[in-house]
Amino acid sequence: MAGPLQIVRGVRVAFAPIVAPIVVIAIASAGCFYTDPINQRPSDGIEQLTDTQVFRGQLVNLTGSADDPNGDDIDFEWRGYACSDATAQPDGTRPGCDGSPVVSSSTKQFAFDVPDNRQDGVTPVRAMYVTLDATDTSGATAPQRWLVIPVADAPPTLALAAEQRPSYVKGIPVPIYAKVGDPDDTPSNVAVVWTAFSPTGSESLTTEQTEPVGSGQLQLATTLLPDQLGVWTVQAIATDPSGVSTTQSIDVVAAPDAPPCLTTWSPIAPPPGESLPISMATLFEVLVVTDDLDPYPAVTGNPYFGTTTFSWSLMPPGGTTHEPISATGAGVALDPASYQPGDIVELRVEIYDRNHTDIPCDESDPTCSIGANSCLQRLTWRVEMQ
């Protein structure tokens, strides 16, 4: 095995390390022979500090490791070439790389962002060919080091969301949103394909709206019409120009329309057999109705939501049936001054959502629940005028 190659100015000598001391001693003993000190060339290497999996646009950190036997300072010369194919030909050329470097540096550390495309601005970068030349202050140059860094195509980013609702009602359209990005491609070049998987089949959905959002992303919108009860899965596949895809899906559970529920009202409604005494004009009002479609008060800013329909009726003193009155809002006032003291009046409100499910109870029932539970659609105030 040969020893390290050493450069003596003007003379190149190869020798074995064991021999070297003898030679030197021999020269010294001659007494009259002089030569310049031997400047040995540095040695170098490349160390990649960041992940070996590199995507376009990603930061790459390299560091040069060099050693000079003479202790000279070493100058580094980095060059980075963008390549679509960094394979070297037999003659050492790399035709798949740009002819001139896209990045360069003369520091020990070499950090650069991998360009998206080669210098033609079109061809995606698939590899970076990096060279390092190390030269000491005496001009001795280490053999050129090179490194080929494979560059991968980053997949698109994709996040899905369904419009937030208390529940998703069968037959009511649901906006579905996708936020699309791509670290190394323009999001607008990412194709998104929607598929809705119903409980019994599947169907394609189309992107209805696209708008840019922050951080260079796009928000796409489509609409799911869940016309069957059960779990619907909306799948989106985002594919970038390089053919790399990301798939995401989201579940939407289509439920039957639930009836609206009287939640809060004022004043208190008396239990059966009792009456609410009022001695001054009193506003009877429904304050809150919960519903998956038409709550009250209305939700603003979302066309999906409507508002509750109120149906009021009044059974006058001595009456036997509740007669509809003109009010359709959430409140009706009664004034005992319009009645005789001791008169009993029944004021009733019934609520409906857009599906207007019939309230099934008998006229004489002061309250009613379609689901036979605590969710009331009918409320009756039995009022005693004082």
Binding site: G273, S275, L287, W312, S326, T328, P341
Partner: protein, 568 residues
């Protein structure tokens, strides 16, 4: 008191610690173990631009010598305005939202940190006072009500931490029936804010949810022979309310010096009613009440319809026996008068004669004011049967032809020469609602009876706008209405006492009042709480009519809109 309420709302919410609203306008935190509690009191309670704000720690249950660490808008403050560092001060030269954090260390007892956020607004503009009322779902917390002052051009953030209160199980019993349970209506009236209502069952048991506060509890028994009664109640007491027959209040009702039989009499004192009594043939009556001679009372008398007398009411100091005397008067019987529309008789029309007629007699020596309310139904020929009414000018006949077909006609019975009452057809009203120049679809336009019509009915007429913002409705001829449009997309609109709908209703730009509803010391925010903005200076039913309504969402957040005071 009004300022105190404003301070409660202004105090806002905390960014750390568990905040509480106290009665002095402070917001603070309580040690969950029941030790130290800390609040921050601001002076002034509603700072405006240019004010100097004094923030003082109000600490209860502290042991040891504390050290106060203040942070104002993220920076430590040592601008002490108390020797012990328990207060700081700073100027507020610009409109902004400020946050004060306070940590207390060095005390033996643990004092939780607290903070408050408050707005500084430009105080030079117009203002409007409202009440903000929050009614949580049943059993969650106690209701809240506080004043809010809205300034021109300044939206408000008002977080509402509710008093968690407590469930209250109680009973109503009868003293006179061996502590037997009594079904009753109960009203827990706080020092301010809306009352809490409950009904006791036949067993007398009731269940409600109250704040940890003192209430006046008005109990109105459903059983005859028991008098309504008010009780002072505080959380340290059992909620056991025993009612009895009270004491009889006797008197007579006369008309022109003669006994008046069949008149109904009721008294009320400090919001507590008596029972209702009907006079006997000799004009005598006896009601049961929990108050007695010397009490300040309001007395209401409803004479029999056949008397032709007006209803009479007066406020007086109760002296027994109570003498109620109608002045001598000869009623006017409208029998034979025809109800017509366009000269055509209206068979079956229902007629209500209404109006106020001033002094009609005395109650306990005090002048009684009169109000006419007489009803009748025309026969098949549109002719009224006997309807005796007082002789007076300025009365009105409210004629109802069908359920939603009304007319109001002026009526002068002073000469008792009424042969017909004209009930013109309803008036078609149309208009548009817009916000700025944009038509407002699906907005409710509501017309509530006012004036004479309101004496007969308060049932409103309403319509929804179409896609072009247009609406149409029929209004009673001769009537007045209070027209309101409350839609969160614009400022609330109100036109009071109008006889026709405004043709073009333009909602002004709204100011937003928003915040979060939570339960003090509770697990989090409150969903589904009813949040209302109410008139700050109204009385009667108008004080209860919401100007804007919302419900807190899943995050406890609410948002309401009110008119900019500069546009009012």
């Amino acid at each position: 008191m009004r300022l105190t309420g404003i301070a409660l709302v202004l105090a806002g919410c905390s960014s750390f610690g568990a905040n509480a609203i106290s009665g002095d306008g402070a917001v603070g935190a309580n040690d969950a173990a029941g030790g130290c509690s800390v609040t921050i009191a601001l002076t002034p309670t509603m700072p405006v631009v240019g004010d100097h704000v004094h923030a003082a720690a109000v600490v209860i249950g502290l042991e040891g010598v504390p050290t106060y660490s203040w942070i104002v808008d993220g920076s430590a403050s040592t601008a002490y305005e108390a020797p012990d560092g328990s207060a700081i001060g700073f100027d507020v030269p610009l409109p902004a939202t400020h946050e004060i954090d306070l940590a207390i260390t060095g005390a033996t007892s643990y004092c939780p940190p607290t903070s408050t956020t408050f707005d500084v607004v430009d105080g030079s503009g117009a203002t409007a006072l409202y009440r903000l009322r929050v009614l949580p779902p049943p059993g969650v917390a106690a209701p809240f009500e506080g004043d809010i002052l809205v300034r021109a051009g300044a939206s408000l953030t008002r977080d509402v931490p509710l008093d968690p209160g407590e469930d209250l199980l109680g009973s109503v019993t009868s003293v006179t029936s061996g502590a037997m349970g009594v079904p009753a209506y109960l009203q827990f009236v706080p020092a301010s804010g809306p009352p809490i209502e409950a009904f006791s069952a036949m067993t007398g048991a009731f269940d409600t949810h109250v704040a940890l506060a003192t209430y006046q509890v008005i109990v109105v028994p459903e059983i005859p022979g028991l008098a309504p009664r008010a009780f002072a109640w505080s959380p340290s007491q059992q909620a056991a309310f025993a009612v009895d027959a009270g004491q009889p209040i006797a008197g007579t009702v006369t008309a022109g010096g003669s006994p008046l039989a069949g008149a109904q009499v009721q008294l009320a004192s400090s919001g507590v009613p008596s029972t209702i009594a009907t006079t006997l043939a000799d004009g005598s009556f006896s009601v049961l009440a929990s108050f007695g001679s010397g009490a300040a009372v309001t007395v209401s008398v409803v004479p029999p319809a056949t008397s032709g007398l007006a209803r009479m009411s007066a406020s007086t100091t109760l002296a027994l026996p109570l003498a109620i005397a109608y002045s001598a008067a000869t009623p006017c019987d409208l029998a034979g008068a025809t109800i017509q529309r366009g000269g055509v008789a209206l068979p079956g029309a229902q007629v209500t004669i209404v109006g106020g007629i001033g002094a009609v007699g005395t109650i306990g020596g005090a002048q009684g004011s009169g109000a006419v309310l007489a009803t009748a139904t025309a026969n098949g020929s549109g002719v009224l049967p006997s309807v005796p009414v007082p002789r007076a000018a300025g009365l009105h006949a409210v004629v109802q032809i069908a359920s939603n077909d009304l007319a109001v006609a002026a009526l002068d019975t002073s000469t008792c020469s009424v042969s017909s009452i004209a009930a013109p057809a309803e008036l078609a009203n149309a208009g548009t609602v817009a916000v700025g120049s944009a038509a407002l679809a699906n907005a409710r336009v509501e017309a509530t009876p006012a004036g004479p019509l309101a004496l007969a009915t308060l049932v409103p007429v309403d319509a929804m706008t179409g896609s072009d913002g247009s609406f149409a409705m029929l209004l009673a001829s001769g009537a007045a209405y209070d027209v309101r449009v409350a839609d969160p997309r614009g400022a609330p609109f109100e036109a009071l006492g109008v006889s026709s709908m405004p043709a073009a209703i333009a909602l002004g730009p709204p100011l937003v009042i928003s915040g979060t509803v939570s339960v003090l010391g509770g697990p989090g925010t409150v969903t589904g709480a009813a949040v209302e903005v109410l008139c700050g200076s109204c009385s009667g039913v108008d004080a209860e009519r919401p100007i804007a309504q919302a419900a807190s969402d899943a995050q406890g957040h609410y948002q309401l809109t009110v008119a900019d005071p500069s546009s009012m």
